[in-house]
Symmetry: C2
Amino acid sequence: MTGAATRAAAGRSPSAGAERPEDAGDLLALDRAAQDLLFRAARTANTFTAEPVTEAQVRAIHDLVRYGPTALNAQPLRVLLLRSAAARARLLPHVSRGNRAKTAAAPLVAVLAADVDFHERLPELFPHQPKARDWLGDRAERVAQARFNAALQIGYLVVGVRAAGLAAGPMAGFDPTGVRQEFFPDGRHEVLLLMNIGRPGPQAWHDRLPRLDATEVITTL
Amino acid sequence: MTGAATRAAAGRSPSAGAERPEDAGDLLALDRAAQDLLFRAARTANTFTAEPVTEAQVRAIHDLVRYGPTALNAQPLRVLLLRSAAARARLLPHVSRGNRAKTAAAPLVAVLAADVDFHERLPELFPHQPKARDWLGDRAERVAQARFNAALQIGYLVVGVRAAGLAAGPMAGFDPTGVRQEFFPDGRHEVLLLMNIGRPGPQAWHDRLPRLDATEVITTL
C-alpha cells in the first residue's frame, strides 16, 4: 500500500475498504472488510476517546484469540488489566516519558506477561503427553519458550482487539524489570509488552511507516 | 468451545460457523464467518492435500500481514520457503522424528527466522528517529528484540495463512542450530519456527485441546 493510499484509508471507517493498486487481497478467503478491519486500515493508536472498554469486550476478545496455536498448547500469556486510577498510578513511573501521557489517558491498559511456570498446567493442557511437564525442568529453557509463545499470543491479541473494532497501542518503551517488581512480585512472570486499548481519538496516528516488500522478506528454494 | 462442538466444527467448512453456547462473538465487529475462518474453526493441520500453495498466494498473505505492528517498525521476520525436493531434503535431518513425515509431504514448508541485524534497515523503516539504529549496537539486545518482534509477526502470519483459506502447521520440534547452519550460514539470523502450509488433508487434526478460561488468564486491577 502506498503512502497516499494509506493516508486515504486512515481517513475512512476501517470497514469501508481502501483503494489500492494491487489486488492481492482478492486471492484471500477473508473478505475485504475484514482485511481492512484487522490489517490494512488498522493502525496503532496514540490517542483514544473516553469511551470505556468493557469487561464483556475483553472477554469476547479473549474468547476469540484463545484458539490461536501455541507449542504444547501451553498458552503462557497472562494479561493484567489496569482499570483503576490507583493501579494506573503504579505503572506510570515505569513507562518511558514519551509513552506516559497516552498511557495515563487510555481507557484500558494491559500489561502483557508470560507465565514462566506454564509447564505446571501441561498435564491439563497437553494431556496426551503426560511427560511434557518433565521436559521443562530447566528454567532458562522455560523462560525462552514462555517469551516466544506469549509473543505469538500477543500477535493474536493485536488481531483480536481490532476484531472488536478497537485500536491497540502496543508499547515497548517501559522498564520491564520495574513493572515486574511492581505487579508480579511472585517471580514467575516475565513482562513483555504494554498495550493501550480503546477507540482511536483525534489525530490518533501519523502516516503509516513503510513496510518491507515480499522480495525483501521471502526467499524460495 | 466444547469438545463436541469442536468436532462438529471440524467437519464443516471453516466459514460455515459452529454452534456454540456462548455469544461472546456477537460483541465483535468481525463477522462470524471471519471469526471461524481465523480462530474458532481454524486448526493446526498435520496432513495436507497435494494441492500446491502458489507464489501468488504467499504474496497475498504477506501483503496482508505485513501491516501488523512491530516495535520501531523493524519487521525482523524473514521467511525461507522450501519448495524443491532438494531444499526439503536439506531440512528433514534437522526435524524431530515425529514431524518428519508431514514436513516431507506438506505442499510448502516455511522456515521462519529473525534478522538479528534488522537495525540496519531502521533509517528507512523508522525515518523520523534517525538515531534508532544506534540504540541497537548491542547484539544480545538485538537478538532479544528480533526474536520477540518476529514472534509477533509469526502470530500475524498464522492468521494470514488462515485468511487465505489454508491451514498452518507450526512446528517447534526441530534443531534450530542445525537449521540455521544449513540455511543461514551468514550468522545474522535466528531460526524460530517451521510452518507447514497447505489445504488440510484427511484426518488433519485431533480433537481440539483445552483452552484457558478468561478467569485464568486475565486479572483486573
